[in-house]
Amino acid sequence: MARLSISSPLDVRLLDKGMSIGEALAAFNAAHDNAGGVVSFLGKVRPDGNVRALELTHYEPLTLSGMEELAETATSRFSLEGALVWHRIGVMTPGEAIVLVATAARHRRDAFEAADYLMDHLKSAAWLWKRERRDDGWHWIEPRGQDHEDLARWQ
């Protein structure tokens, strides 16, 4: 099996299929052997309520370049050795991964904060639109007030 190769320092992707979490983190870890710590966050489709599926759409000219810019900002703000920012698009079912963020830094605090920063921005400042399919059809998901408050912490 070909080993997953990670681009360094930043690996930013929009994926239209499932991701192999273990392989991604192993490759990220291997790509950053100078880091003192690696933090990762995996966001999944919550298997609650009557949510049958979730769909994420993007806008090609803006979404990936916006995520790359975000990763660059996080890297300089938190002195990262590297970052991995992967986001799914398309249709997912409960339990599936939506987003994987990993940060590598000399010290753990920077890695933790950068992962938090990246996630807050992906939730409500990346060019992505999310809708859920419930028993009665599709519903668009608006950002919650909490998402905006989370984002405001960094301003």
């Binding site: 806008y59 000219p61 986001h87 409500s124 060019w127 639109w129 668009w140 998901i141």
Partner: protein, 80 residues
């Protein structure tokens, strides 16, 4: 001589289609005219952005799209 308007996210439901070809050139007043009242109402809100040729406009009311340009209507986002 046409401009493509893309309706992203929930705006596609309001518009009843994902994209529409309209005559070029297209400015803000023209855009408001062609998208229908429901989408127009959304466009007037600050939280809805407009991109032209793949760039988000700092001032959407200064829109000036020419032949073969793509105009994307961007409602509030929700990722993660």
């Amino acid at each position: 001589m046409s401009v493509t308007i893309l309706f992203l996210g929930p705006l596609a439901d309001l518009a009843g289609e994902k994209e529409r070809e309209v005559d070029a050139p297209l400015d803000w007043a023209g855009l408001i005219d062609v998208v229908g009242p429901e989408v127009a109402q959304q466009l007037e809100l600050d939280r809805v952005n407009v991109a032209c040729k793949g760039r988000v406009l700092a001032d959407k009311r200064a829109l000036m799209a020419e032949d073969s340009d793509e105009v994307a209507l961007l409602p509030p986002v929700s990722g993660g």
